[in-house]
């Protein structure tokens, strides 16, 4: 892992052509397909690959060239979870390398001018998994007949395709080249193509046209929709066009494996894609592994099954507290257990609701001294030792050390345990009168009792709150815990009924300057510290409230500056301003981060890093480590 060796901004200004440094060896036929090729059912591998396949190199530490073959079993809790496989597969127009630079993957190359004009070059001869050509038509269809079509989701361009509120101009230059031109810079475009759940800008047109009223016979289409239990052709199209959901075995794909099983099923079988565009230096077409078997079992039994050696690779549904049990059975059942670091900005954080309905509380929360005092009144070391065996790190809700934007002060500001300073701040605010149990009184005379609400999904949160309640008592603040249920909790937060919530911190704790700082800016009502301000942005000002604190307004301005920043270093500057404001203002009170995710890996499975980062985006959990290069060594 070389996250600290960041080569940011390689895409910002100029054209980058992806040059294969390795001479392409002649393609070798995959044993899995040999029979079908011999029988004439499949063309030989040389004709299946694009003219210029992507050659995967193995300069990562410990990764090595492998051999094709084998089945890999994974466990999932629900049939719907096969969508996660799409993240794991991680074939994208653009992908992140493990040091978080973007590079073309499905695309042969890309040219970017001023972050406004994006020219995408496809690989000539690239084919969908059913053998039909993958061309500019697939982009045109998706743009004109799906995105711009008012009847089919997404009903117009998604937010990542708007810059300054304007959609791009789309052009087909030739069979393998398309261009998107915005009037203003759109720095969100490329990262969203490389996301775990990518922005969809193309689809298998040849397949989807049979469901589109513009190309198919309307009468027949009506019949088909009815037979499938769908209301109209648009609903039928929407049912069939979800590449990400992996729920339509008939739909062609560009991913390394193809789902062959329709839900509901107890086991989903994914087989290798004969037209996949990556090869290894020896000329083996990837993926190495022939089949992926996704077995559905109840989420609660998955740790036990993994412990019995029934999974070749498993992280989802395994919790840190399963670690000892998993470790104990590892030798006997032929697997090893790695611990990966999670990528959340904070494993747990407190979110004082700045939009709470109670005016007295609202004024207190909006006073930075109050938030700082609460933060100083928490003994994070104690939490780390008592609950996480000392393996996590006390931290604010901010970026992790692996992010190039990390600075120690972002992590440490106001996180020391300092009861005296906290009391001084509260006294300075004039909250000096005390009631029973030595609890401070609020300006209107009520005792200062904060009810912290949890989604009630784990006892861990409740345990952490117990510890905080003890230390807050020393600063004259009483804490009550109220577990509820996620949907209920959210609606209470949105409407301002909660005072404070405890939840995970920012999802992406390892951003680069080129990733959008949306999670640090009031842009979503799902940000528990300022739901109404976020809603205000989301709804274009029709609902919610206008941000009222100067610091929050400044964050919004900075977001605008980030969008229009000319290059990476200017974007980094904006990021640092934003992170600085967060550290200083303590909008959210982070507790610990860098917690660990157990990963069970079959002893014979190669190329899975021992110490990866388990992060959704960027990272796609396993995706960024290229599961198509995982392979099984012969036991012995």
């Amino acid at each position: 892992m070389s996250f600290h060796r960041l080569l940011a901004g390689c895409l910002a200004l100029a054209a980058i052509a992806f040059l294969a440094t390795v001479p392409a060896a002649a393609a070798v036929e995959t044993p899995y397909f040999a029979e079908q090729v011999a029988a004439g059912k499949l063309p030989p591998v040389g004709e299946r690959l694009p003219a210029d396949p992507r050659i995967v190199t193995f300069d990562e530490d410990g990764a090595q060239q492998g051999q094709p073959g084998g089945d890999m079993t994974m466990l999932m809790a629900r049939a719907k979870d096969v969508r996660i496989m799409f993240a794991y597969f991680y074939a994208r127009l653009m992908t992140y390398t493990t040091d978080l630079t973007l590079e073309p993957d499905i695309l042969q190359s890309i040219e970017v001018e001023e972050n406004r004009v994006f020219t995408l070059h496809l690989r000539p001869g690239h084919r969908w998994s059913d053998g039909s050509p993958f061309t500019a038509e697939d982009f045109r269809y998706w743009w004109e007949d799906v995105i711009l079509n008012k009847d089919v989701p997404p009903f117009g361009p998604p937010p990542e395709m708007l810059a300054g509120g304007e959609p791009p101009l789309f052009e087909v230059l030739d069979e393998t080249t398309v261009r998107y031109t915005w009037k203003e810079p759109n720095p969100l475009f490329l990262p969203s193509l490389a996301a775990a759940r990518p922005l969809e800008i193309f689809g298998p047109a040849a397949y989807l046209k049979q469901f589109h009223v513009k190309y198919a016979d309307a009468g027949q289409l009506k019949e088909r929709a009815k037979a499938a239990g769908q209301k109209s052709w648009a609903h039928l199209h929407n049912r069939m066009d979800n590449a990400y959901d992996n729920d339509n075995p008939d739909m062609p794909t560009l991913q390394p494996w193809i789902n062959t099983t329709a839900a509901p099923a107890e086991r989903f079988v994914f087989v290798r894609n004969p037209y996949y565009h990556r090869v290894d230096p020896a000329g083996n077409q990837l993926p190495y592994i022939d089949r992926l078997l996704v077995q559905i079992a109840d989420g609660k039994i998955i740790p036990a099954k993994a412990g019995a050696g029934e999974a070749d690779l498993q992280a989802r549904y395994l919790r840190f507290d399963n670690y000892t049990f998993l470790k104990q059975a590892a030798k006997r059942n032929g697997y090893k257990v790695d611990l990966w670091k999670t990528g959340n900005g904070a494993h747990l954080a407190l979110f004082p609701n700045l939009n709470t309905a109670d005016p007295v509380w609202r004024d207190l929360f909006r006073d930075v001294r109050f938030r700082r005092a609460l933060s100083l009144g928490i003994d994070r070391d104690e939490i780390n030792q008592a609950i996480y065996y000392g393996l996590a790190h006390p931290s604010n809700n901010t970026v992790l050390p692996r992010s190039p934007l990390f600075r120690p002060e972002y992590r440490q500001a106001w996180t020391r345990f300092d009861v005296r300073e906290a009391n001084r701040l509260l006294d300075e605010m004039g909250l000096t009168s005390r009631g029973g149990e030595n609890i401070r009184l609020m300006p209107d005379g009520r005792p200062m009792e904060i009810i912290v609400e949890t989604a009630g999904e784990s006892t861990e949160e409740v345990d952490v709150l117990e510890l905080i309640a003890d230390s807050w008592r020393k600063i004259g603040v009483k804490l009550f815990t109220k577990p509820s249920q996620l949907e209920v909790l959210r609606n209470r937060i949105y409407s301002g009924q909660t005072l404070m919530a405890i939840a995970k911190g920012v999802d992406n704790g390892i951003p680069t300057a080129d990733m959008a700082p949306t999670e640090f800016v009031p842009m979503d009502q799902n940000q528990y510290q300022w739901p109404k301000w976020g809603q205000f942005y989301q709804t274009g000002g029709t609902a919610g409230e206008k941000p009222a604190l100067p610091a929050a307004v400044e964050l919004m301005d900075l977001m605008g500056r980030w969008r229009t920043a000319p290059d990476t270093s200017a974007r980094a500057e904006v990021w640092h301003r934003i992170l600085g404001i967060h550290a200083d203002q303590v909008f959210t009170i982070g507790l610990v981060n860098g917690t660990l995710q157990p990963v069970v890996v079959r002893s014979t499975l190669r190329n899975v890093p021992d110490e990866g980062i388990y992060n959704w985006d960027p990272g796609a959990h396993f995706g960024i480590y290229r599961p198509d290069t995982f392979w099984f060594a012969k036991p012995g």
């Binding site: 079993t73 629900r78 049939a79 719907k80 989701p153 997404p154 009903f155 117009g156 998604p158 937010p159 775990a196 759940r197 239990g229 769908q230 209301k231 648009a234 609903h235 929407n238 049912r239 729920d247 099983t261 839900a263 509901p264 099923a265 107890e266 086991r267 079988v269 078997l293 077995q295 079992a297 109840d298 609660k300 039994i301 036990a304 099954k305 019995a308 029934e310 996620l486 949907e487 209920v488 959210r490 609606n491 999802d507 992406n508 799902n526 959704w616 985006d617």
Partner: protein, 332 residues
Amino acid sequence: MLGFLVRRIMVMIPTLLAISAITFVIIQLPPGDYLTTLMTELESRGEAIDESRLQFLRESYGLDRPMIEQYFVWVGGMLTGDYGFSFEYNRPVADVIGDRMLLTIVVSFATIVFIWVVSFPIGIYSATHQYSLGDYGLTFLGFLGLATPNFLLALVLLYFANVTFGTSIGGLMDAAYLDAPWSWGKVLSILEHLWIPVIVIGTSGTAGMIRRLRANLLDELHKQYVVTARAKGLTPARVLWKYPLRMAINPFIADIGNLLPQIVSGAAVVSIVLSLPTTGPMLLDALRSQDMYLAGSFLMFLALLTVVGVFLSDLALAALDPRIRLEGGATR
């Protein structure tokens, strides 16, 4: 008799209608609908879904309609054999349930057979050898099965089977057979996995069965006609079989009404712990994620089975025990 049958069937209709209304209301009671569940689930993973798409899906599933209309659409559909659409599986409810029905019936049927085979001999023995060591010992075993928490026993047996026989954890067969056609290997694999749920669910049911049979038999054995039969010199076995036992199984026949839905719904808790591909876990998931039509149609199906089961057990009781009169109709 015919009038009685018709009356009984006529009563079933409003009963089922009432059940359908209650079911529908209860499923709708939690805040939000399937789409809010979906949204929360997506967001918990850092994915987003925009409002317009949600609205589209709402229309797609008919969730944008008023509650009462949704109810009538559902009930009307059921009358014509259309049980609605499962959001979770994106398929008609009938298909989703059908897939799991066979294995559910296998598990439940095996369990019921197990319960009867174990508890009948023990019950008879306990009654005929009252207060003997055997009576106490066997009854104690039964109570032990009742007292052990099912999920715990299931986990212990799973671990034990995995470590000693290498049986795969949970499920009803080895992964290799999941999508394979039926074969001897598959049947054997199912048998290998089947004994755990059967024992776990079975042991909890035997105690009740044993005690009821014992109590009923004891009542009968002290009656006049048994004494008379003995005095006439019939063999003890014949004395037992001819009348008392027939009277004593009366409660079991009355139980058929409950047995039918049980066969279909199985023991949900154990199925969930063991991750069995049966209907119990599916129903729970459907209720959790507010997959309205799947949960509702399934519950309706269980209600129908219960109503039919009670009807059948009434008929069987009447046939079995002439002392049972049908609503006083025969006394006139």
